[in-house]
């Protein structure tokens, strides 16, 4: 996991601040939105890292920073070992063959005045790549692969449903066989039944082409279905990272606990039984984040120390990191003991095996 050089994506100490400008004729910078404030993460070959957190916690900004769609303020982003934060747009062009993006809003991410064929062939055209058999053939093969009718090549996006549009976006993202795809909430705009289809498609493509995903979502149920590992983010900071199994069964951070307790359980008996930890108040402003631990203002565990000392992200077990002074070690009603849970965590350097039959697929 920390075996440098083997990671497809490696982000360290990433900070992305947006200037806050005063209104008026001569705008001055009067503050900074610390959207991402010191984030570390890594995605291995063929792996999916789920990135979760409430809306406003900086997930989209991480996704955009990783692909240099917004320039990070500081920190390092490496794709297949290559540092890209200081590359010019021109020098980034070859990197953009290796790393693609799938967007949240399938209505906004496709140019309404381009045909489906035009949209999916754009990566070939822009990167000046001529696939064997021609662009049109390649595009139609892709359309078929993602579950679209290749005869709809000349249609316009407004003739497709949200799920089909997301398939168009996926075809465009995989067109050049990238090593990494950054997915920013690719299913949150879709119906639950369609979500499962799209997640399955993403997983199949991952196996077929060996793609790594940085998969952003605010929905823990969705992240659970697709991720090998999960990272929890809050107000620009990383709170906890662990393998999927460990994170869902043995969470340590109070924030992860509250997120998990907000996920509805299908079984009403268990739903009633468990203690829901409600998050109080709103997300604090990232312009003026709380001192010490950024989560302390809403944390049921918070003590004086939390206000003065920033908790570092420390590895408490192989592959399980948490940034908290008072992690919650006891997990109520867990079927997996802590010991077992960590046995399931991936061993360093070895790619996490694809999720097995315990994968949750919504009905």
């Amino acid at each position: 996991m920390t075996d440098a050089g083997k990671e497809v994506l490696e982000v360290s100490n990433l900070r992305t601040y947006f200037p806050v400008r005063s209104r008026g004729v001569l705008p001055r910078t009067i503050g900074q939105v610390k959207a991402v404030d010191g984030v570390d993460l890594a995605v291995g070959p063929g792996e999916t890292l789920g990135l979760v957190g409430e809306s406003g916690s900086g997930k989209t900004t991480v996704a955009r920073s990783v692909l240099m769609l917004v320039r990070p303020t500081s920190g390092s982003v490496k794709i297949e070992g290559q540092e890209i934060t200081r590359l010019s747009q021109r020098d980034l062009a070859p990197v953009r063959r290796k790393a693609a993006m799938i967007f949240q809003d399938p209505y906004n991410a496709l140019n309404p005045r381009h045909t489906v064929g035009g949209i999916i062939s754009a990566p070939f055209k822009i990167q000046k790549i001529e696939p064997e058999g021609g662009v049109k053939r390649a595009v139609q093969t892709l359309m078929e692969r993602v579950g679209l009718n290749p005869e709809h090549y000349n249609r316009y996006p407004n003739e497709f449903s949200g799920g089909q549009r997301q398939r168009i976006g996926i075809a465009r993202a995989v067109a050049l066989r990238p090593k990494l795809i950054v997915c920013d909430e690719p299913v949150s705009a879709l119906d639950v039944s369609i979500q499962a289809q799209i997640l399955n498609l993403l997983r199949d493509l991952q196996h077929e082409f060996g793609i790594s995903y940085l998969f952003v979502a605010h929905d823990l149920a969705v992240v659970r279905q697709i991720s090998h590992r999960v990272a929890v983010m809050y107000l620009g900071h990383m709170m906890e990272t662990a393998s999927r199994k460990v994170l869902y069964s043995q969470p340590l951070h109070p924030y992860t606990h509250s997120l998990l307790s907000a996920v509805p359980i299908p079984d009403p008996a268990r739903q009633r039984e468990r203690n829901r930890i409600l998050l109080e108040g709103d997300l604090p402003s990232p312009i003026n984040p709380p001192s010490g631990c950024v989560f302390r203002t809403r944390c049921f565990q918070a003590q004086e120390r939390c206000a003065v000392e920033i908790p570092p992200l420390v590895e408490v077990a192989p592959g399980h990191k948490v940034a908290c002074h008072f992690p919650i070690a006891t997990v109520p009603k867990s079927v997996v003991t802590e010991h077992q849970a960590h046995e399931l965590a991936p061993v360093e350097g070895v790619p996490v095996p694809p999720a097995g039959p315990d994968r949750v697929v919504p009905a």
């Binding site: 955009r64 692909l67 769609l69 747009q89 021109r90 980034l92 062009a93 953009r96 063959r97 693609a100 993006m101 967007f103 949240q104 809003d105 906004n108 991410a109 496709l110 140019n111 309404p112 005045r113 381009h114 045909t115 754009a122 990566p123 822009i126 990167q127 709809h152 000349n154 249609r155 316009y156 407004n158 003739e159 976006g169 465009r172």
Partner: protein, 310 residues
């Protein structure tokens, strides 16, 4: 569901719009007349430059026959007071100059306005500020005054730069001033559209694929700007036809022996009491042209209405 591009949707709607179809037909005929009309008339023996002394009286120069000298088939629309030149031939060569000036000026206006608008909207920051102030400046100029005042100097300057002297230079001057003062209106519209377009994720998607600025501006944004550009074009054309006529009326346009609607109208003023047709013939053409363009523009705007398309 049928695959429909913007063009197909608009075409399907316009086809059901009878007014738009009639206007379109009229305009097609007008352009055809402007292009082949003069040659055709020449072949048939009509010429806008030939004096016909037999058609006017020796003493006052007034047409011999009533109604401005209408005489079939020699002078179907009459002859000019004082020269006996054929009005129909003059009308068609005037139509040609009028359409050349207004069409070229519109194309230039739309080109400048679109490019400046896209650049200002997309670049933002200082570029946008500077271009915005430039637009304000241009719009603040007393257009008519400057056009009239600079006419002589600038026409000579154009001639000195190698443009054939006389009416070619004068026509080019008209085209240039009209476009140089006209572009900011469209630039503002386009800039506003681009400001909202650049927030759309498909622009970011293009960047993520490695697209350069030209591709983003002209490959991603421009196709979404056709609707306002097209509507603006069809509404600018008639206003330029009217403007050209007004400027010719004021003496900035072409000089005799060439003529345009405006010059013909200016001439007609002196003889209106005696021969009202002198006013009604070029005036009617002008109105027909302008009204057709305006109605077509309105229909096009309705057909392109994005609210109805999505």
């Amino acid at each position: 569901m049928v695959g429909r591009s913007l063009r197909e949707i608009v075409w399907a709607r316009l086809r059901r719009d009878r007014v738009a179809l009639i206007c379109f037909a009229i305009l097609v005929v007008m352009y055809l007349l402007a292009i082949v009309g003069p040659y055709l008339l020449n072949a048939l023996g009509y010429d806008p430059y030939t004096f016909d002394r037999a058609a006017i009286s020796n003493s006052g120069g007034q047409p011999v026959l009533p109604n401005g000298g209408i005489e079939f088939p020699k002078h179907p629309l009459g002859v000019e007071w004082g020269t006996g030149r054929d009005i129909m031939a003059q009308l068609l060569s005037g139509l040609r100059i009028s359409l050349i000036v207004s069409t070229s000026a519109t194309i230039l206006t739309v080109l400048i306005g679109t490019v400046v608008g896209i650049v200002a909207g997309y670049a933002g920051g200082w570029t946008d500020q500077i271009l915005g102030r430039l637009m304000d400046l241009v719009l603040a100029f007393p257009f008519l005054l400057i056009v009239l005042a600079l006419s002589g100097v600038m026409t000579d300057r154009l001639t000195a730069m190698g443009v054939p002297e006389g009416n070619t230079s004068r026509v080019l001057y008209l085209i240039l001033v009209m476009s140089l003062f006209g572009w900011p209106y469209l630039a503002r519209i386009v800039r506003g559209q681009v400001l909202s377009l650049r927030e759309r994720e498909f622009v970011e998607a293009a960047v993520a694929m490695g697209a350069g600025t030209p591709r983003i501006l002209f490959g991603e944004m421009l196709p979404n700007l056709w609707a306002p550009i097209l509507v603006y074009t069809t509404l600018t054309l008639p206003s330029y036809i009217g403007l050209e006529a007004a400027l010719s009326f004021l003496g900035v346009g072409v000089l005799p022996p060439d003529t345009t609607f405006g010059a013909m109208l200016a001439n007609s003023v002196s003889y209106f009491q005696v021969v009202p047709l002198y006013l009604f013939i070029p005036g009617g053409m002008l109105v027909l042209l302008v009204v057709s363009f305006n109605l077509l523009g309105d229909s096009l705007r309705d057909a392109l209405d994005p609210k109805a398309i999505h």
